[in-house]
């Protein structure tokens, strides 16, 4: 997949887009010279691609892919970032009563599967007590990526930005050039949200035939056309919450 950044600059606004995480990422920035804005978008693109190399479930050569193949043999030392992501997912699993569950794609999945995941914080290792356990961070990754993007924007003193990852994960910081905060509409529901330094995460089945989220209680795909959107401070939390609420019905 082509992943170079394309962009349009007009009257102080820079819109850049590229693909990462199997989808298009859109970033709108302003408030700095054109070159500086372009540079930040390139840095974001690099960061998201690095994140993808760590945590792409579908790539057996990613750090997560390797972990999924070997962690049942012995505890595996992982990067701080991957450890942090999985640790967060564990917290959200507890907080959502198991509705948000990254072990959903494991062999012979049931509600207990997640318990086979052992995290050792002191040694930064991950161990699977059962063969066939597989962690899928795909849903979570976009929200986590938004939090990364926020860090990069802060480091470069960019106060106003709108960031969209695949239409389902949106982060708005600062203000629209002509107003306070940013107004965003979810097409599926027609609902408008005013975001002020917040993330909007949407989970759902866009069309009656489309299903891609598994219910941990039943192990089956959630059926029916339905959409859940949540507004949160953190993108990672938004992903966990939106998925959990969608599954819980």
């Amino acid at each position: 997949m082509y992943s170079g950044v394309q962009s349009v600059y007009n009257q102080g606004l820079l819109y850049g887009w590229f693909t990462a995480m199997h989808t298009r990422v859109d970033i709108l920035l302003y408030g700095k010279p054109e070159e500086a804005l372009r540079n930040v978008i390139t840095l974001i693109s690099d960061a998201l691609h690095r994140l993808e190399m760590r945590a792409n479930f579908f790539d057996s050569t990613s750090e997560l892919g390797k972990l999924n193949q070997t962690a049942h043999l012995k505890p595996i030392t992982v990067s701080d970032e991957l450890f942090q992501m999985i640790a967060l997912c564990k917290i959200y699993h507890e907080k959502t009563d198991g509705c948000f569950d990254i072990s959903i794609r494991s062999d012979h999945y049931n509600a207990e599967t997640f318990q086979s995941l052992i995290l050792d914080e002191a040694h930064s290792t991950i161990y699977f007590t059962k063969q066939g356990l597989r962690l899928d961070l795909s849903g979570f990754l976009k929200g986590y990526a938004l939090d990364k993007v926020r860090e990069i924007l802060q480091t470069h003193s960019i106060d106003n930005a709108l960031v969209n990852i695949g239409n389902s994960s949106v982060m708005a910081t600062g203000n629209h050039p002509k107003g306070d905060g940013w107004k965003v509409t979810v097409a599926a529901t027609g609902k408008e949200y005013l975001l002020k330094n917040e993330c909007l995460t949407t989970s759902g089945n866009e069309t009656p035939g489309r299903k891609h989220i598994i219910n941990p209680q039943t192990g089956k795909y959630v059926e029916g056309q339905r959409t859940v959107s949540v507004v949160t401070a953190s993108g990672a939390e938004g992903e966990a919450l939106a998925t959990a609420l969608f599954v819980a019905g």
């Binding site: 082509y2 239409n167 002509k178 949407t202 866009e206």
Partner: protein
């Protein structure tokens, strides 16, 4: 009634500074509602097939009154009276032009008559809308343009794409650099028919099928190419310096005198080319102006644009390209899907967000009426129309002579990259 904002909103686009730079003639729909209740009193000369289409639009416009029609063919007069029963009937355009009631004329006669009728109309002090191509050769086009400049009367030609929302919006995007550098324009118009109309009796052959005979028309170049060449120069904002091409009758060998198979290459000073191809014995590819940028492609006839790699989000794109006019607007997000884009064929996006409807003729006629009422010639209209016809005729000349031609200095306007070399001191001031 219609102001610019209404026009843009009706057209499904929001206005911007950029857009007005690409399309300055839209200022004809003035912001002030100063023309409400006023009427442009028009005469229609040559209400044949195209003339009736124009009349139908004009009749729906409360700012227009069709006061006169003129034709030399009774069936056309009968049909025109169905549309405008109150109109006074003339059989000689000079008589129509004597009428004090007529402020402006719409000329939709065959090509070879455009020059005479237009010049007579200007001499009579009437505003002119003349169908394309304006003249039978470049010299005629040039004289018609200059007459418009000398008299200060309104001059429009039938280049309706100038008012077609999808073209206006596409040009705005192209000029803002969204598709990168435009490196080529491939235009083509394919049909599979003999281009003939039924003739009620043999002596009317040339009157009805004037398009097929060189005395009246220059065939595919003057009837079709002028539309598409204008799109090319509009997108490039550059006029060509050389042209070459070939034309022949390869399929419809039925006594016609104009080619049924032509191909022309227009070359800019920077090497970028506009191609025009027309074959009328195969219709598979239809018609299109393919505008080729290094980042993307526009196919305005289909109303679509495509990106070479990942397409941008229309909402974001609009926000950046139209920031001037944008208030605190909401950004719509398509939904929750994150399907890998590479798995999908490059289906493109509609330029105006929807399937195109209409072709700009309604707005072109409305713009003419507006200009007649306000007596203000919209910026660049006459220049765009001049070059559309001149380039088509110049291409025809290249086909006829079978050699590469340079655009004649004496027929250049001071427009875009063309500039007139003053021939003498007076000339400089005049132009």
């Amino acid at each position: 009634m219609m102001n610019r904002r209404d026009f843009l909103r009706n057209a499904g686009i929001t206005g911007s500074g950029l857009m007005l730079a690409a399309t300055p003639w839209l200022s004809v729909f003035s912001e002030k509602k100063q023309t409400v209740g006023e009427k442009a009193r028009l005469g229609i000369i040559g209400p044949g097939s195209r003339g009736q289409v124009l009349m139908n639009f004009l009749c729906q416009n409360p700012k227009v009154e069709i006061v006169a029609i003129c034709d030399i063919y009774q069936p056309s007069i009968d049909a025109a009276l169905q549309i405008a029963p109150q109109a006074k009937v003339y059989r000689d355009h000079r008589k129509l032009l004597e009428s004090k009631e007529v402020e402006g004329v719409v000329i939709a006669t065959p090509l070879h008559t455009h020059f005479r009728i237009t010049m007579d109309a200007f001499d009579a002090g009437k505003h002119v809308y003349c169908e394309k191509s304006t003249g039978y050769d470049i010299e005629q086009c040039f004289k018609m343009y200059n007459k418009h400049r000398e008299t200060g009367l309104i001059f429009f030609a039938g280049q309706q794409r100038l008012f077609d929302p999808r073209y206006i919006k596409a040009m705005e995007m192209i000029h803002s650099g969204v598709f990168g550098d435009i490196e080529g324009i491939r235009t083509f118009w394919y049909r599979n028919n003999d281009w003939r109309r039924p003739v009620p009796s043999p002596e009317l052959e040339r009157h009805i099928n004037w398009r097929l005979y060189r005395e009246y028309s220059k065939g595919l170049m003057t009837e079709l190419a002028c539309h598409q060449l204008q799109i090319g120069t509009w997108a490039l904002r550059r006029l060509p310096d050389t042209v070459m091409g070939h034309g022949a009758i390869t399929f419809w060998k039925d006594g016609r005198e104009v080619d049924d198979n032509v191909s022309c290459i227009y070359v800019m000073d920077n090497g970028v080319k506009i191609n025009f191809d027309s074959v009328i014995s195969n219709k598979f590819y239809g018609l299109e102006e393919q505008i080729l940028g290094h980042l993307g492609t526009v196919e305005p006839e289909k109303g679509k644009y495509f990106f070479e790699e990942v397409a941008p989000a229309p909402g974001f794109l609009q926000m950046v390209t139209e920031i001037e006019q944008n208030l605190f607007d909401t950004l719509p997000f398509a939904g929750t899907s994150w399907a890998p884009e590479t798995a999908q064929p490059n289906k493109g996006e509609y330029i105006t967000g929807k399937r195109p409807d209409g072709d700009g003729t309604d707005l072109l006629t409305a713009a003419f009426a507006e200009a007649v009422i306000t007596r203000k010639q919209p910026e660049n209209i006459a220049e765009e129309c001049y070059y559309a016809s001149a380039l088509a005729l110049w291409g025809d000349q290249a086909l006829q002579e079978g050699r590469m031609l340079t655009f004649p200095e004496e027929y250049k306007l001071n427009y875009l990259n063309h500039s007139r070399k003053p021939i003498n001191e007076n000339e400089e001031e005049k132009v």
